[in-house]
């Protein structure tokens, strides 16, 4: 793996970088989004559509949880097939193994103990030990993987929080020593909502021989306000030229907060949850301040960021979700058709919507990168947050 921060293109802590990883022939520009998957494939977008209808190489970064594979297919079979890339037939994609995902592998801090990390999955509660985890990961051969962590939510006791840092560090060392083949490993950093613990954990992990850092324990109930300081407590203690990956920061404002703290990679279930609910992203990707003023809101059933395709107002709307969007869905289908598909609970609704939402959100990341490179990131962030507030206000007052 090769990662480099582009010199001269930082705005405060926000930075622009390039990531090059084995399978993917194209370099990935950061900050970047990792797409959520179930057993390696997006929840609703089949692999042929993934490669044909989403931008490249932006859509080549995929996050998966090895725990998804614990029932249904054995590590030995995955090995026999030849690993994840072969099994999913996505040879030019980058797979990042992160045990936790916010949909079907949620950390259960109450059941985690000194032996292993506990997760709540549809198949029940799972306790996974470092040795088992490393075995799973080596059968899959992802492009990079994060070490097993004990993630705790913001409200646990100081004692519990300290234990989580100690455990995570111990498991990090276990994973490193069990790692027979030289694979790319990101060291996990936790610390809950304690600045000191975050600080301590980051410093410890920075001393280990890893290729990057995964920052966990966010998106588990802490408020956005307290998060900023916690993020910088971590990133300020990490070497500048190594990639930082965070899970659990999904909303656009949270991503912006993460970028401002110096994060390079984000995995998020935002698109998944929007898609399930029938929400389509519509916020403008171009940063023209002027257009915020006359944003049409009346009965759109939306809030300026997204629209609810199930709303009856779209029954006869023959326009695409976003007029200027070049995704497959907007180029081929209308809001009226999508409204119908949602109303009759057809699977195609989610497929088409996931394609659009993914495309749109990848576009958002593209805008972020552009803003950093133009030295205007803070302004971009401010504009975004303010115009969102304006639109919400306008929507509320016209309701």
């Amino acid at each position: 793996m090769k990662f480099a921060v582009k010199k001269g293109w930082s705005n405060g802590r926000a930075r622009s970088g390039v990531l090059q990883l084995g399978s993917c022939p194209f370099p990935i520009q950061t900050p970047a989004l990792l797409l959520t998957t179930r057993k390696g494939l997006p929840p609703f977008t089949s692999p042929d559509l993934l490669t044909s209808s989403l931008p490249s190489p932006d859509s080549h970064l995929l996050q998966f949880s090895p725990l998804h594979f614990l029932e249904g297919i054995s590590p030995k079979t995955i090995s026999n097939i030849g690993g994840l890339h072969q099994m999913l037939s996505l040879h030019q994609h980058i797979f990042a193994a992160v045990p936790r995902d916010s949909i079907i592998a949620l950390p259960e801090h109450d059941s985690t103990n000194k032996y292993g990390a506990s997760f709540q999955t549809p198949g029940g509660r799972l306790l996974i030990k470092p040795a088992e985890y490393v075995e799973l990961v080596s059968s899959m051969k992802p492009d990079f993987w994060v070490t097993l962590a004990d993630e705790v939510p913001a409200w646990v006791s100081n004692k519990r929080n300290r234990t989580s840092v100690d455990r995570t560090l111990r498991w990090l060392d276990d994973c490193l020593s069990l790692n027979k083949e030289s694979t790319t490993i990101f060291g996990s950093i936790v610390g809950g909502s304690s600045i000191e613990e975050r600080h301590r954990c980051a410093q410890e992990v920075a001393q280990r021989n890893v290729s990057g850092y995964w920052i966990g324990g966010f998106g588990l109930g802490e408020s956005m306000d307290e998060r900023a300081a916690l993020l910088t407590a971590v990133t300020d203690n990490l070497p500048e030229d190594m990639p930082r990956h965070v899970s659990g920061l999904g909303l656009p404002e949270e991503v912006l907060q993460g970028v401002a703290a110096g994060i390079d990679l984000f995995d998020s279930t935002y698109v998944y949850h929007l898609t399930l609910g029938g929400f389509a992203l519509t916020f403008p990707l171009e940063r023209n301040k002027g257009e915020n003023a006359d944003y049409q809101l009346s009965d759109s059933g939306g809030d300026g960021m997204k629209i609810n395709l199930k709303a009856t107002v779209y029954r006869k709307d023959t326009s695409p979700i976003v007029e200027s969007c070049i995704c497959f869905t907007c180029q081929n289908h209308t809001k009226a058709y999508l409204n119908h598909l949602f109303n009759v609970h057809e699977m195609l609704a989610q497929t088409l919507l996931e394609i659009h939402n993914t495309h749109h959100y990848l576009g958002f990341f593209c805008s972020i990168r552009k803003a950093i490179e133009e030295g205007k990131f803070e302004q971009f962030r401010r504009n975004f947050v303010e115009s969102r507030r304006d639109r919400l206000f306008a929507a509320a007052s016209s309701a």
Binding site: K39, S74, T77, A336, H340, L348
Partner: protein
Amino acid sequence: MALKFEVLGRFNRARAAQLTLPHYLCQTPLFMPVGTQGTIKGLTKNQLEEIGCQIILGNTYHLALRPTSELIDELGGLHKFMNWPRALLTDSGGFQMVSLLHLADITEKGVTFQSPVDGKPMLLTPEESIQIQNRIGADIIMALDDVVRTTITGPRIEEAMYRTLRWIDRCIAAHKRPNEQNLFGIVQGGLDPVLRDICVRGLVERNLPGYAIGGLAGGEDKDSFWRVVAQCTAALPEDKPRYVMGVGYPLDIVVCSALGADMYDCVYPTRTARFGTALVPEGVLKLKHQAMANDIRPIDPMCECMVCKNYTRAYIHCLVTKDAMGSQLLSYHNLYYMMKLSRDLHSSIVEGRFPEFVCKFLQTMFPKGDVPEWVCNAMEVAGIDISSCCREMRFDVDKSSTL
């Protein structure tokens, strides 16, 4: 009439043809996947085109309910609404009513039922069915028929057959777009050859663009099934398409094609995909079975579809019944299989190797030579020698003249 039907090749009763519809140039024999509510479960229009789908079926009953035929009409018709550039066929709505609704009742006026939305009594007449289908705008529309299951016996069958003939005239009168949409009549009459004959004659007199054989695929025994198909295909005009409704299994399609049918529809391939079953030349493959968990072969090593070229049985096994993606991938494969079967039927007839194709098909599906008796009997009537596939020849003496 808004179609052209040109036979390009034959083998005895079997024929391969070019069917030109307003939206697409089709090749028969062909299978039509069912896209009940304006979509085939989980597959995009591009994927359907890639698979080779030519005509897709829409269910009038479902579409009339949501989003309503008036809305579809206002937005330019179903083709535009779905953005499907090829052909569409809608059924009359009658079958769903009878099969889905508990209190449906058929009278001379039409089908009376309780609206599933608000429980109000409603009536679907032949006129109303045609009007709804006119608004939806499919290339082929179906007459409202009085359909009874073949497992029923008695005077009801005769009543239904004569009513179907009376209703076809009302359908014809109500049809406002004969230059853009083709109205097919449906032959009823249960399993009774006399009734079937009367119905065929009655429909042929009306000189419709095409004819369907209805009332089958509802639980009758296979021996009765093929005989009705054989009788109807023998009596229906040569130069018009013949559509066997609700068929079905690949084996049934091969037999009916040998007997001279051209078009088929069934929910089977997509429905069985959602239960984790894949269609393969040997029959079916149940991906849910534990044996699949470690099987790293593709579903069908000979299949050229995206799923078989990229995925193993083991991976699909871990998806099926748990993730929507499993259904999507299996639906893709199953439809690909059906469309490949359609293409093979067409090309083998055109290229003069239809009997060889049939033999190979049966040998693969019945490697022990245990071809079912009804298939042997049907093939004999179709004039196809399948002795190489059967362990023992069976002789059926009953070859009445109507066959």
